[in-house]
Amino acid sequence: MVFDDINSFFDMGGYGLYVWLSFGSSALCLLVLWLDSFFSKRRLITHVLHEQIRQGRIKAAAEQSATAQQKTHGETI
Protein backbone atom coordinates (compact mmCIF):
# COMPACT_ATOMS: atom_id res chain seq x y z
CA MET A 1 0.00 0.00 0.00
CA VAL A 2 1.66 3.21 -1.20
CA PHE A 3 -0.21 5.42 1.28
CA ASP A 4 0.54 5.01 4.97
CA ASP A 5 -2.95 5.86 6.23
CA ILE A 6 -6.46 6.48 5.04
CA ASN A 7 -6.46 10.29 5.05
CA SER A 8 -3.43 10.53 2.80
CA PHE A 9 -5.12 7.98 0.57
CA PHE A 10 -8.14 10.28 0.25
CA ASP A 11 -5.91 13.30 0.02
CA MET A 12 -4.07 11.75 -2.94
CA GLY A 13 -1.07 14.02 -2.52
CA GLY A 14 -3.23 17.12 -2.66
CA TYR A 15 -4.96 16.07 -5.92
CA GLY A 16 -7.77 14.27 -4.11
CA LEU A 17 -10.50 16.40 -5.69
CA TYR A 18 -9.47 15.66 -9.24
CA VAL A 19 -8.72 11.95 -8.78
CA TRP A 20 -11.91 11.23 -6.86
CA LEU A 21 -13.94 13.40 -9.25
CA SER A 22 -12.76 11.38 -12.24
CA PHE A 23 -13.17 7.97 -10.59
CA GLY A 24 -16.49 8.97 -9.08
CA SER A 25 -17.91 10.35 -12.32
CA SER A 26 -16.83 7.34 -14.36
CA ALA A 27 -18.31 4.95 -11.78
CA LEU A 28 -21.51 7.02 -11.75
CA CYS A 29 -21.76 7.10 -15.56
CA LEU A 30 -21.27 3.34 -15.88
CA LEU A 31 -23.77 2.73 -13.09
CA VAL A 32 -26.39 5.01 -14.66
CA LEU A 33 -25.86 3.32 -18.03
CA TRP A 34 -26.24 -0.13 -16.50
CA LEU A 35 -29.36 0.87 -14.54
CA ASP A 36 -30.95 2.48 -17.59
CA SER A 37 -30.38 -0.65 -19.66
CA PHE A 38 -31.57 -2.93 -16.85
CA PHE A 39 -34.76 -0.99 -16.16
CA SER A 40 -35.63 -0.54 -19.83
CA LYS A 41 -35.45 -4.32 -20.16
CA ARG A 42 -37.86 -4.67 -17.26
CA ARG A 43 -40.07 -1.97 -18.78
CA LEU A 44 -40.19 -3.88 -22.08
CA ILE A 45 -41.25 -7.08 -20.34
CA THR A 46 -44.00 -5.31 -18.35
CA HIS A 47 -45.08 -3.64 -21.59
CA VAL A 48 -45.52 -7.07 -23.18
CA LEU A 49 -47.59 -8.20 -20.21
CA HIS A 50 -49.79 -5.08 -20.39
CA GLU A 51 -50.21 -5.78 -24.08
CA GLN A 52 -51.55 -9.24 -23.24
CA ILE A 53 -54.07 -7.80 -20.81
CA ARG A 54 -55.16 -5.22 -23.39
CA GLN A 55 -55.65 -7.86 -26.09
CA GLY A 56 -57.73 -9.83 -23.57
CA ARG A 57 -59.94 -6.81 -22.94
CA ILE A 58 -60.42 -6.17 -26.65
CA LYS A 59 -61.34 -9.83 -27.30
CA ALA A 60 -63.75 -9.84 -24.36
CA ALA A 61 -65.48 -6.68 -25.61
CA ALA A 62 -65.68 -8.08 -29.14
CA GLU A 63 -67.25 -11.34 -27.88
CA GLN A 64 -69.63 -9.39 -25.67
CA SER A 65 -70.86 -7.21 -28.54
CA ALA A 66 -71.07 -10.27 -30.80
CA THR A 67 -73.30 -12.11 -28.30
CA ALA A 68 -75.33 -8.92 -27.83
CA GLN A 69 -75.86 -8.75 -31.61
CA GLN A 70 -76.93 -12.39 -31.73
CA LYS A 71 -79.42 -11.72 -28.95
CA THR A 72 -80.99 -8.72 -30.73
CA HIS A 73 -80.82 -10.66 -34.04
CA GLY A 74 -82.51 -13.61 -32.28
CA GLU A 75 -85.33 -11.37 -31.02
CA THR A 76 -86.06 -9.75 -34.37
CA ILE A 77 -86.63 -13.15 -36.14
Binding site: R54, Q55, R57, I58, A60, A61, S65
Partner: protein, 209 residues
Protein backbone atom coordinates in the same frame (compact mmCIF):
# COMPACT_ATOMS: atom_id res chain seq x y z
CA UNK B 1 -85.52 32.17 -29.94
CA UNK B 2 -82.81 31.51 -32.52
CA UNK B 3 -79.65 29.92 -31.20
CA UNK B 4 -77.48 31.17 -34.02
CA UNK B 5 -78.39 33.61 -36.78
CA UNK B 6 -76.53 35.27 -39.58
CA UNK B 7 -77.14 38.68 -41.22
CA UNK B 8 -76.02 39.27 -44.89
CA UNK B 9 -72.85 37.30 -44.43
CA UNK B 10 -70.28 37.22 -47.24
CA UNK B 11 -66.89 35.58 -47.35
CA UNK B 12 -64.06 36.05 -49.86
CA UNK B 13 -61.24 33.54 -49.82
CA UNK B 14 -58.03 33.90 -51.88
CA UNK B 15 -59.96 36.77 -53.60
CA UNK B 16 -62.71 34.42 -54.72
CA UNK B 17 -66.19 35.36 -53.52
CA UNK B 18 -67.55 32.18 -51.91
CA UNK B 19 -71.01 33.51 -51.00
CA UNK B 20 -72.58 36.82 -50.19
CA UNK B 21 -75.59 38.27 -48.35
CA UNK B 22 -76.36 35.02 -46.58
CA UNK B 23 -79.19 35.19 -44.06
CA UNK B 24 -80.49 32.33 -41.96
CA UNK B 25 -81.29 31.44 -38.38
CA UNK B 26 -81.24 28.13 -36.55
CA UNK B 27 -83.86 27.71 -33.83
CA UNK B 28 -83.52 25.56 -30.75
CA UNK B 29 -84.01 21.89 -31.48
CA UNK B 30 -83.57 22.32 -35.24
CA UNK B 31 -80.98 20.91 -37.65
CA UNK B 32 -79.49 22.95 -40.54
CA UNK B 33 -77.95 20.79 -43.27
CA UNK B 34 -75.57 22.80 -45.48
CA UNK B 35 -75.23 21.35 -48.97
CA UNK B 36 -73.02 22.35 -51.91
CA UNK B 37 -70.35 21.11 -54.24
CA UNK B 38 -66.71 20.95 -53.23
CA UNK B 39 -65.32 24.46 -53.09
CA UNK B 40 -68.72 26.06 -52.56
CA UNK B 41 -67.44 27.42 -49.23
CA UNK B 42 -69.22 25.11 -46.78
CA UNK B 43 -66.20 24.69 -44.53
CA UNK B 44 -65.34 28.39 -44.59
CA UNK B 45 -68.95 29.23 -43.69
CA UNK B 46 -68.87 26.84 -40.73
CA UNK B 47 -65.54 28.26 -39.58
CA UNK B 48 -67.01 31.76 -39.74
CA UNK B 49 -70.01 30.55 -37.74
CA UNK B 50 -67.69 29.07 -35.12
CA UNK B 51 -65.78 32.36 -34.96
CA UNK B 52 -62.50 30.87 -36.11
CA UNK B 53 -62.20 33.23 -39.05
CA UNK B 54 -63.68 36.67 -39.68
CA UNK B 55 -66.28 37.17 -42.40
CA UNK B 56 -65.64 39.90 -44.96
CA UNK B 57 -69.06 41.40 -44.40
CA UNK B 58 -72.09 40.61 -42.26
CA UNK B 59 -72.52 39.52 -38.65
CA UNK B 60 -73.03 36.27 -36.79
CA UNK B 61 -75.27 36.32 -33.72
CA UNK B 62 -75.42 33.78 -30.91
CA UNK B 63 -78.75 34.15 -29.03
CA UNK B 64 -79.05 37.58 -30.67
CA UNK B 65 -75.66 38.75 -29.36
CA UNK B 66 -72.86 39.42 -31.82
CA UNK B 67 -70.27 36.65 -31.29
CA UNK B 68 -67.47 39.24 -31.43
CA UNK B 69 -68.82 40.74 -28.19
CA UNK B 70 -69.72 37.53 -26.34
CA UNK B 71 -66.93 35.24 -27.58
CA UNK B 72 -66.31 33.52 -24.25
CA UNK B 73 -69.99 32.95 -23.53
CA UNK B 74 -70.55 31.69 -27.09
CA UNK B 75 -67.65 29.22 -26.95
CA UNK B 76 -68.90 27.85 -23.65
CA UNK B 77 -71.99 26.59 -25.48
CA UNK B 78 -70.38 25.50 -28.75
CA UNK B 79 -68.81 22.23 -29.88
CA UNK B 80 -67.03 22.33 -33.24
CA UNK B 81 -65.84 19.37 -35.26
CA UNK B 82 -63.75 20.20 -38.34
CA UNK B 83 -61.51 18.46 -40.84
CA UNK B 84 -58.63 18.62 -38.37
CA UNK B 85 -59.57 16.29 -35.55
CA UNK B 86 -57.96 18.28 -32.74
CA UNK B 87 -56.22 15.34 -31.07
CA UNK B 88 -52.46 15.06 -30.59
CA UNK B 89 -51.03 11.86 -32.03
CA UNK B 90 -48.37 11.26 -29.38
CA UNK B 91 -50.87 11.50 -26.52
CA UNK B 92 -53.31 8.68 -25.78
CA UNK B 93 -57.06 8.98 -26.42
CA UNK B 94 -57.80 9.39 -22.71
CA UNK B 95 -55.15 12.10 -22.29
CA UNK B 96 -56.46 13.97 -25.35
CA UNK B 97 -60.03 13.92 -24.11
CA UNK B 98 -59.03 14.85 -20.56
CA UNK B 99 -57.11 17.82 -21.92
CA UNK B 100 -60.05 18.86 -24.13
CA UNK B 101 -62.47 18.62 -21.18
CA UNK B 102 -60.21 20.71 -18.98
CA UNK B 103 -60.01 23.27 -21.79
CA UNK B 104 -63.74 23.47 -22.14
CA UNK B 105 -64.37 23.45 -18.40
CA UNK B 106 -66.11 20.08 -18.48
CA UNK B 107 -65.68 18.29 -15.15
CA UNK B 108 -65.39 14.60 -15.97
CA UNK B 109 -64.02 11.45 -14.39
CA UNK B 110 -61.71 9.05 -16.18
CA UNK B 111 -64.25 6.23 -15.95
CA UNK B 112 -66.85 8.22 -17.91
CA UNK B 113 -64.20 8.72 -20.59
CA UNK B 114 -63.44 4.99 -20.62
CA UNK B 115 -67.18 4.21 -20.64
CA UNK B 116 -67.85 6.55 -23.58
CA UNK B 117 -64.85 5.19 -25.51
CA UNK B 118 -66.23 1.69 -24.89
CA UNK B 119 -69.56 2.84 -26.37
CA UNK B 120 -67.64 4.01 -29.44
CA UNK B 121 -66.15 0.49 -29.38
CA UNK B 122 -62.60 1.65 -28.76
CA UNK B 123 -62.08 -0.83 -25.90
CA UNK B 124 -58.42 -1.52 -25.28
CA UNK B 125 -57.30 1.39 -27.45
CA UNK B 126 -57.81 4.08 -24.81
CA UNK B 127 -54.29 4.31 -23.40
CA UNK B 128 -52.04 3.85 -26.42
CA UNK B 129 -50.81 6.85 -28.44
CA UNK B 130 -53.48 7.91 -30.93
CA UNK B 131 -50.95 7.59 -33.77
CA UNK B 132 -51.36 3.79 -33.56
CA UNK B 133 -55.12 4.01 -34.21
CA UNK B 134 -56.72 3.88 -37.66
CA UNK B 135 -58.23 7.03 -39.24
CA UNK B 136 -61.77 5.93 -38.40
CA UNK B 137 -60.83 5.14 -34.80
CA UNK B 138 -59.07 8.51 -34.43
CA UNK B 139 -62.20 10.21 -35.73
CA UNK B 140 -64.27 8.40 -33.10
CA UNK B 141 -61.90 9.57 -30.38
CA UNK B 142 -62.44 13.14 -31.64
CA UNK B 143 -66.22 12.63 -31.86
CA UNK B 144 -66.29 11.42 -28.23
CA UNK B 145 -66.30 15.12 -27.20
CA UNK B 146 -69.99 15.31 -28.21
CA UNK B 147 -70.75 12.97 -25.31
CA UNK B 148 -69.05 15.20 -22.78
CA UNK B 149 -70.01 18.88 -23.22
CA UNK B 150 -73.57 18.75 -21.77
CA UNK B 151 -74.12 22.51 -21.48
CA UNK B 152 -73.50 23.00 -25.22
CA UNK B 153 -76.40 24.64 -27.11
CA UNK B 154 -74.91 24.50 -30.58
CA UNK B 155 -73.03 21.80 -32.47
CA UNK B 156 -71.14 22.62 -35.66
CA UNK B 157 -70.09 19.45 -37.55
CA UNK B 158 -68.07 19.54 -40.76
CA UNK B 159 -68.51 16.16 -42.50
CA UNK B 160 -68.50 14.05 -39.33
CA UNK B 161 -69.28 10.80 -41.19
CA UNK B 162 -66.22 10.52 -43.42
CA UNK B 163 -64.03 7.46 -42.63
CA UNK B 164 -66.66 6.09 -40.25
CA UNK B 165 -68.21 2.64 -40.70
CA UNK B 166 -71.99 2.14 -40.61
CA UNK B 167 -71.94 1.31 -36.93
CA UNK B 168 -70.03 4.57 -36.23
CA UNK B 169 -72.48 6.61 -38.33
CA UNK B 170 -75.40 5.05 -36.48
CA UNK B 171 -73.88 6.01 -33.13
CA UNK B 172 -73.31 9.62 -34.18
CA UNK B 173 -76.76 10.08 -35.71
CA UNK B 174 -78.36 8.67 -32.55
CA UNK B 175 -76.37 11.14 -30.44
CA UNK B 176 -77.31 14.05 -32.74
CA UNK B 177 -81.01 13.20 -32.54
CA UNK B 178 -80.93 12.97 -28.75
CA UNK B 179 -79.14 16.35 -28.62
CA UNK B 180 -81.71 17.92 -30.99
CA UNK B 181 -84.68 16.55 -29.09
CA UNK B 182 -83.05 17.93 -25.95
CA UNK B 183 -83.32 21.45 -27.39
CA UNK B 184 -79.88 21.78 -29.01
CA UNK B 185 -79.19 23.27 -32.46
CA UNK B 186 -76.97 21.55 -35.02
CA UNK B 187 -75.39 22.93 -38.19
CA UNK B 188 -73.67 20.27 -40.25
CA UNK B 189 -72.42 19.33 -43.69
CA UNK B 190 -71.98 15.80 -45.02
CA UNK B 191 -71.18 13.97 -48.25
CA UNK B 192 -73.28 10.91 -47.53
CA UNK B 193 -77.03 11.31 -47.87
CA UNK B 194 -78.30 12.51 -44.51
CA UNK B 195 -80.18 9.64 -42.87
CA UNK B 196 -81.26 11.46 -39.71
CA UNK B 197 -85.03 11.02 -39.21
CA UNK B 198 -85.45 14.52 -37.85
CA UNK B 199 -86.99 17.62 -39.51
CA UNK B 200 -84.07 19.36 -41.21
CA UNK B 201 -83.94 22.69 -43.02
CA UNK B 202 -81.45 22.72 -45.87
CA UNK B 203 -79.18 25.48 -47.14
CA UNK B 204 -77.48 25.10 -50.50
CA UNK B 205 -74.40 27.14 -51.39
CA UNK B 206 -73.98 27.65 -55.14
CA UNK B 207 -70.52 27.11 -56.57
CA UNK B 208 -69.19 30.38 -58.04
CA UNK B 209 -66.13 30.37 -60.24
Amino acid sequence: MSVISVANLSVVKRDRLLFENLNFAVEQGSLLYVKGQNGAGKTSMLRVLAGLIEADAGEVYFTLQNIKDCREHYHQHLVYFGHKLGINSSLSAVENLQYWCQQHEVVISVDTIFYTLAQLNLVGLEDIPVANLSAGQQRRVALARFWFKHNAKLWILDEPFTALDTQGIELITKQITTFLSGGGAVVMTSHQALCIDYPTDELTLEYRI
